[in-house]
């Protein structure tokens, strides 16, 4: 398989775009998708100061890397949750990336260590207050992310949510018709009066597989293992289902999520329903009198054709 653009050997194929790319052209493609996301959702401007939430995983490190290479002013925040070996490894990967890639480009890494402030890691803390670990984790991350953004006067906070994350979340919300959550699913949430900084998801046009490929190709050393608390999450099931559909019919995830965004952007659709539109256009068929939008209804046309052929 060769690169669609420059014809040298491809390293990745993208069925949903009917393309395959070499490393150079793939990097151009990735930067292009991020640039389109930033512009279409008015995420930030060239001189805005951005705070990226990094976890040590592929998406967030790739996001930091991409923004820096596109010469945005992007610093990062890592929250050390104190989950044994997982936190140690992910912390080390983030520090390594910060020192070897980000610092030479003038970027800063902030670190918040849960154990230092709370006196215990996230698991113990969750047990102490009788709440699920992931919701405790969510509260802490959101709080610290916002605190650092406000304290250091960042214009916007960016997270590494990708197309798979957003499509899976949308599927979950739609399956249960949780309409109140649909409004919050925009990849760009403005700052609010009550002291929340602006939040954006510049990777929403890229799939999880594309981001892993970007990290491997650009030698970004990320943590492949999952957070041990993530096992059995329903999100994984939704992602699996979507990926089966995607494999059979490339482009499904993008059509699902980006179609939703398009619909949300459009002003209220005209109040005339499909049925009303039909009513307005219907009149009796000139042959049989049954309702049709044409002169002769499709049944009569079919029968007329059948008769000419049978003679």
């Amino acid at each position: 398989m060769n690169c669609t653009k420059c014809k040298i050997r491809a390293v990745i194929d993208l069925p949903r775009h009917n393309a395959a790319f070499c490393k150079g052209c793939f990097n151009v493609y990735v930067h292009d998708q991020v640039s389109r996301a930033i512009k279409s959702e008015k995420m930030f401007k060239k001189d805005d100061r951005i705070l990226v939430a990094v976890s040590g995983g592929k998406d967030s490190l790739a996001l930091w890397d991409i923004l820096l290479k596109m010469s945005y002013k992007a610093d990062a925040l890592y929250v050390d949750l104190g989950i044994g070996g997982y936190s140690e490894v992910s912390h080390a990967k983030v520090v390594q990336f910060a020192e070897t890639v980000a610092a030479p480009m003038g970027a800063v890494l902030h670190v918040h260590t849960v154990e230092q402030e709370a006196g215990a890691g996230i698991k113990e803390l969750a047990m102490l207050i009788h709440r699920p670990t992931c919701s405790t984790c969510g509260t802490i991350k959101r709080y610290q992310f916002n605190r650092v953004a406000l304290e250091h006067k960042y214009d916007v906070m960016a997270t590494g949510h990708n197309l798979d994350d957003e499509a899976a979340r949308l599927l979950g919300n739609v399956l249960r018709w949780q309409e109140e959550y649909l409004d919050k699913q925009s990849p760009s949430l403005p700052a609010s009066l009550d002291g929340f900084a602006k939040k954006v998801k510049p990777l929403f046009r890229l799939s999880e597989r594309e981001l892993a490929a970007y990290s491997v190709l650009n030698r970004i050393d990320y943590i492949v293992e999952e957070c041990p608390m993530a096992k059995g999450a329903r999100t994984l099931l939704y992602k699996e289902v979507l990926n089966r559909l995607e494999t059979e019919s490339p482009g499904t995830k993008q059509a699902f999520y980006c179609g939703f965004l398009d619909k949300q952007r459009k002003p209220e659709a005209s109040p005339t329903t499909m049925a009303e539109k039909d009513q307005a256009m219907l009149h009796p068929c000139s042959v049989c009198q049954q309702p049709t939008t044409a002169d002769v209804c499709s049944y009569c046309k079919m029968m007329a054709r059948a008769k000419t052929h049978s003679v």
Partner: protein, 72 residues
């Protein structure tokens, strides 16, 4: 060839030569959820893999808390 898999981490032996695409089929894996890495290079699905190759099939999907999605 040696094929390294994750979740759970293990290495299996598969007879080559074999197209990457057919390796996926044999292991019953969804292409969209994985990358194939030979040595330390990415390869596409139509690539032929040989007995002396070191292959890693790396899962790319990560989970996280369903409601808050604060994993990243």
């Amino acid at each position: 060839m040696q094929v390294q898999l994750s979740h759970p981490a293990r290495t299996i032996e598969i007879k080559g030569p074999k197209k990457a695409k057919d390796l996926f089929k044999e292991l019953n894996l969804v292409v969209e959820a994985h990358l194939i890495i030979r040595g330390d290079e990415l390869v596409t699905e139509d690539e032929m893999l040989y007995d002396q190759d070191q292959i890693e099939i790396r899962p790319v999907i990560s989970g996280g808390s369903p409601r808050f999605m604060s994993h990243e």
